[in-house]
Point group: C2
Chain length 180, copies 2
């Protein structure tokens, strides 16, 4: 971030009056440009006991597996965003159910919000951000090839809750991927 | 948003390749400037049955009452952000407890995340974004002077859960304030 998106002048970093954190401030019009964490929203779509997973066609973590998830858009709810991502990445019509996990991902400047979901008609396909999409038996989840720690956490909690017959809401914080 | 914050050139609006939504795109360096919802994080701090409320010293809704809440910052967790806002707005040391509400606020391009909290030592003061800060008995909450629908919702659910002796997690969507 080098230039003011309001007037095009160069930015500087300083602590604005009444603030206590350095911000990007315009040297001409004085506009303060805040940076804040982004929301990633997704779901675990289940169909007849199996989970819909997508192999990523884009960086980061191209070639690794994830549940359908992506950046929340302006004007939508979390539930609508989770359904939209399932449609885009897996061409899947998913009924979004309850909120199952809220995950702080501070190193990536993100909060991940995950829902339980039901794949409505068992049909799916390969969206343009996916290399493959598969309904996977829990015993066959490729744990060593999951894209992000938040996805591993979500799948673990989903399956544990299912085994226990209870639908909990989980809150946690994850760090970067451990080198393998 | 009129200029590229990477190179300072004018922006145009168009649908980038592989996308389906118009974005701000730089006419020179082609950088796509996404806009996404922001996270507002807060808590309901309780002390000996009373709730800590702040009268806003800043717009929007200057002079109206709220629980301590504000924009989540880069690098912090939701829990840390909720504690920081209580410290900044009410000079209060609050133990952040469980996640109690996730509230879509699409018209404001926000998601509000609210925790239950405990005011640790009963001490508080008036932070620089507040006009007054008070420990309020639930019977005396100024419902007609609450700043935002998400705060009304949070206080209602907080008190209903307390009356029921159960700590639920609530998910909802709120619209703009109704004109009074």
């Amino acid at each position: 971030m080098k230039f003011c998106n309001a007037c095009g002048s160069p930015l500087t970093q300083r602590v604005p009056e009444g603030d206590n954190v350095p911000r990007h401030v315009c040297t001409a019009c004085e506009t303060v440009h805040y940076q804040n964490p982004l929301v990633v929203v997704g779901c675990v779509p289940e169909h007849e006991g199996r989970i819909l997973l997508c192999k990523r066609a884009i960086e980061p973590r191209l070639g690794y597996w994830t549940v359908p998830a992506g950046f929340m858009e302006i004007g939508e709810t979390l539930e609508a965003g989770a359904a939209r991502e399932a449609e885009e990445e897996a061409l899947a019509n998913v009924e979004i159910r309850d909120l199952m996990a809220v995950i702080n991902v501070p190193h990536a400047r993100q909060v991940h919000v995950m829902f339980r979901g039901t794949l409505l008609d068992g049909r799916y396909g390969v969206g343009h951000e996916s290399l493959e999409v598969e309904l996977v038996d829990p015993a066959d989840i490729p744990w060593a090839e999951i894209a992000f720690p938040s996805v591993t956490y979500t799948l673990e909690r989903y399956l544990a809750d299912r085994a226990d017959g209870i639908e909990r809401m989980h809150l946690t914080t994850v760090g970067p991927m451990k080198p393998r």
